[in-house]
């Protein structure tokens, strides 16, 4: 217990420590100032701009920025679909894998382009090394960079004092996100992971005869390079089906700690980037601590819950913690911390089986997703989501004190409130409506593992909450891809689950993203009013409480009734189902 808490404190302390450093670095990168990497990357950026026929000086208004974002994502979607459907032509396909069917591929492609990484497939039984590297891991980079770009565009809109309508240049932001921010960190992290035992080879699978004489086949591949960006970009799509619980992805306590830091690093640091770019560091830290405290509450729930056994365990007469679906090298402490980290951010990588958490413990992942992934959240999407909540909080605060709401000196008016409200409602409504359809009709029944039980309800609800929040973790019994034999021959998709999930991911990613850009455009042109004695300050602990309260309240009002039927129903009883 003591050691578990110490481990937790060190990892989280490290996040607090790196937040201002990485935040300052990103602020310099996105304003085009010189950094340590400029000697190498500045010429590369010039070449990039020349080939794309653009330049950092060529600003875009929000519509042009949005058009570029959508065009890039759409083409990414098409290219990834083509790659995944032509696996028999790939180099680096040692297991001779065929392609998954169209519907399962639709889901996978939508999943990776939206930074969700929901996986109906098992990587080591379906994907060629080429698909993993040039298809899936590439999207881990660029979908994360798109998120960062949109967040930075919204910050520019808020910080703009010139009255002009430019919010940056998407192509330049994309380059800087990929090459200045993601690539260097991923590169170093990948090498550290390899040194600890994470695989990195193009060699094929290896058959061995074990000590006891039984044979075993070791699936291999270029894992570390993908693992690093999968965590750093809050993507979460595992090389292996069992994700980061596989020792080849996450081999010991050190890799576990590093991977947790990678997940949190950028979403946390972006609060600092924000504070610097809007010229109010206090406000950046205020947002950081609102996120941090909600996150700690989430950690506490699952950390203590998993120290207790489950009803199934007690029935069989076994005492002790809940080690079902957990690895000895992480224990309940390292598994619980990860479960909270991966669901308050929109990462979705797992190092333990989410479906085997205790009922109360699973409230933590459910809760993280109920809060619409703004507690750190996805890279970029967490910050822009939180800023939309800040507008709502300012509006509520303004109503309470009877003043026109202002945020950073910009008047928040009807148009902004309409956009903010729409953005906040999109994710939970999409999740609940589609989960309702899946549960209320026969369409969703084929996907459920624990049929006819509260657990089956939780599986379905989790599936659509996870996909709507672009999280990607799963109560993994829920399936959309049935694969009788390894190698994807004879496999088939469950069309409803694949398509419903795919559309949910696309809709709940791009609608809030476009709204964030529209807000950026609308705020950019507003004149900034100098603060007066009556201005409600938005960098104080009081506002922090209001902001945190708004996030919690919206989440609770939307999701508590459904959570009562699944996780809470199981958590409050000893009955077996």
């Amino acid at each position: 217990m003591g050691m578990d808490l110490l481990e937790l404190a060190i990892i989280l302390g490290f996040v607090v420590l790196t937040t201002p450093i990485l935040g300052a670095y990103m602020a310099r990168v996105f304003t085009g100032e010189r950094t340590l990497l400029s000697p190498v990357l500045a010429p590369a950026e010039r070449l990039w701009c020349r080939l794309l026929r653009t330049s950092p000086g060529r600003g875009q208004d929000w519509k042009e920025y949005a058009k570029a974002t959508v065009a890039f994502s759409l083409l990414s979607w098409l290219v990834l679909y083509l790659i995944l459907r032509t696996q028999t032509l790939h180099p680096w396909n040692p297991q001779d894998f065929h392609s998954a069917p169209w519907d399962a591929t639709f889901n996978t492609v939508s999943s990776f382009v939206t930074n969700t990484n929901w996986q109906y497939y098992g990587g080591e039984t379906t994907m060629t090394y080429f698909s993993q590297m040039a298809g899936l891991a590439l999207q881990n980079f660029v979908s994360a960079a798109v998120g960062i770009a949109v967040a930075v565009a919204l910050i520019r809109g808020l910080a703009n004092r010139s009255g002009g309508n430019h919010i940056g240049n998407f192509w330049v932001d994309l380059f800087r996100g990929c090459f200045y921010v993601l690539l260097p960190i991923a590169f170093i992290a990948a090498l550290v992971l390899i040194s600890q035992g994470v695989l990195q080879t193009l060699g094929g699978y290896l058959g061995i005869d074990g000590v006891g004489g039984l044979s075993q086949t070791l699936a291999r591949g270029p894992v570390a390079s993908q693992e690093a960006i999968k965590e750093l970009g809050t993507n979460g799509g595992g090389f292996f089906n069992v994700n980061s619980s596989m020792p080849f992805e996450n081999s010991n306590g050190l890799t576990n700690a590093l991977e947790i830091w990678l997940i949190l690093a950028i979403p946390a640091a972006l609060t600092s980037t924000y504070g610097r770019l809007v010229g109010n560091r206090r406000q950046g830290w205020m947002i950081f601590w609102v996120m941090g405290l909600l996150f700690l509450a989430s950690v506490a729930i699952v950390f203590f819950a998993e120290r207790h056994g489950t009803p199934a365990q007690q029935w069989a007469g076994i005492a002790g913690q809940n080690m079902e679906g957990k690895e000895v090298r992480f224990g309940t402490g390292g598994s619980a911390l990860w479960a909270a980290v991966t669901t308050v951010t929109s990462c979705g990588a797992v190092n333990a089986a989410m479906e085997s958490l205790t009922g109360i413990g699973s409230l933590s992942p459910f809760g993280g997703m109920s809060m619409s992934e703004v507690v750190f959240g996805g890279v970029g999407s967490g910050l822009y989501g939180m800023l939309v909540f800040a507008l709502l909080a300012v509006f509520i605060g303004g109503l309470m004190v009877g003043r026109t709401p202002e945020f950073l000196g910009k008047k928040v008016e009807a148009r902004e409130m309409k956009l903010a409200t729409l953005s906040i409602l999109v994710t939970p409504l999409t999740a609940l409506i589609v989960a309702g359809i899946a549960l209320g009709t026969d369409y969703g029944a084929a996907s459920i593992f624990a049929a006819g039980k509260p657990q089956g309800f939780s599986e379905s609800l989790y599936a659509y909450m996870s996909q709507a929040n672009n999280n990607g973790s799963a109560f993994a019994g829920y399936t959309g891809f049935v694969q009788p034999n390894a190698g994807s021959l004879g496999s088939y998709g469950i069309t409803f689950a694949d398509l419903a999930g795919g559309f949910v991911m696309l809709f709940a990613r791009f609608l809030p993203m476009l709204i964030a850009l529209a807000l950026a455009g609308s705020l950019a042109t507003k004149r900034s009013i100098p603060p007066s004695a009556g201005t409600m300050r938005t960098d104080t602990p009081t506002f922090g409480v209001l902001l945190g309260g708004t996030v919690l309240l919206v989440g609770a009002l939307t999701f508590v009734p459904t959570l009562l039927l699944g996780p809470l129903a199981q958590g409050l009883t000893d009955q077996l189902f």
């Binding site: 050691m3 083409l75 298809g135 695989l199 060699g203 290896l206 010991n252 657990q455 009883t573 189902f577």
Partner: protein, 217 residues
């Protein structure tokens, strides 16, 4: 519009080359040169041949023989096996220690399926260990001896689980229990840097050491 699509196309081509190919291949190159052992799967050899990966668990089972002394097969034609008492036993695995088709057992906290599986696992462990630890009861068993891991190939068991098995192993191998405990100590992977993760006994490395130090008779 055309200009935007053109830019998007060029951007995808460039990122694919740099991040989708060059980056993983460069990491592979460096990994293969600097950390060849780890990058290729931390393979362990015994008697000149590769017997597994030191970070991937494997099972230590032996075939069950029928009355005629032939290996028993089940209705599907697969060999029936049971835990080999001469070896330290790893955690139960829903996947039979598959390292090329992994999946979670997905047992819920209130699941009857889980409860019955635990009951059977308890019975199996008690049958294996009770001859050496008289009076052993379900409540005495370490949780990890009964519950499935996440990966299905957890290379470790808890120290308590290893110590419970030490009585049987000492008796089966004809060595003092103190010697077994020393081997457990020597094959325990501690917390990384003293704080990260939890200590666990590496079952494969322990069993290899056991075969070296006290070969089965």
């Amino acid at each position: 519009m055309i200009a935007t699509l053109r830019s998007a196309t060029v951007a995808i081509v460039l990122t694919t080359l740099a991040l989708g190919l060059l980056y993983p291949l460069a990491v592979t190159g460096i990994g293969q040169v600097v950390f060849p052992g780890a990058a290729n799967g931390s393979l362990v050899k015994s008697g000149g041949k590769t017997v597994g990966s030191s970070i991937i668990g494997q099972s230590f089972q032996k075939p069950v023989l029928d009355k005629a002394g032939k290996p028993k097969v089940d209705s599907d034609g697969n060999a029936v096996t049971e835990p080999d008492p001469k070896y330290m036993q790893p955690r139960p695995s829903a996947t039979g220690y598959s390292a090329d088709a992994t999946y979670f057992a997905n047992r819920g906290p209130n699941s009857k399926v889980a409860a019955y599986a635990y009951r059977d696992a308890v019975a199996a462990v008690l049958a294996l260990e009770r001859p050496y630890v008289p009076g052993l009861r379900a409540g005495d068993l370490p949780v990890d001896a009964v519950e499935d891991s996440a990966s299905g190939v957890d290379p470790h068991i808890s120290t308590a689980n290893a110590k419970l098995q030490s009585y049987r192993i000492a008796s089966q191998r004809g060595i003092p229990r103190a010697k077994v405990l020393d081997l457990i100590e020597a094959n325990t992977d501690g917390r990384a840097l003293g704080v990260f993760g939890r200590p666990g006994v590496n079952v494969l490395e322990f069993n290899l050491a056991l075969d070296r130090e006290a070969p089965a008779r």
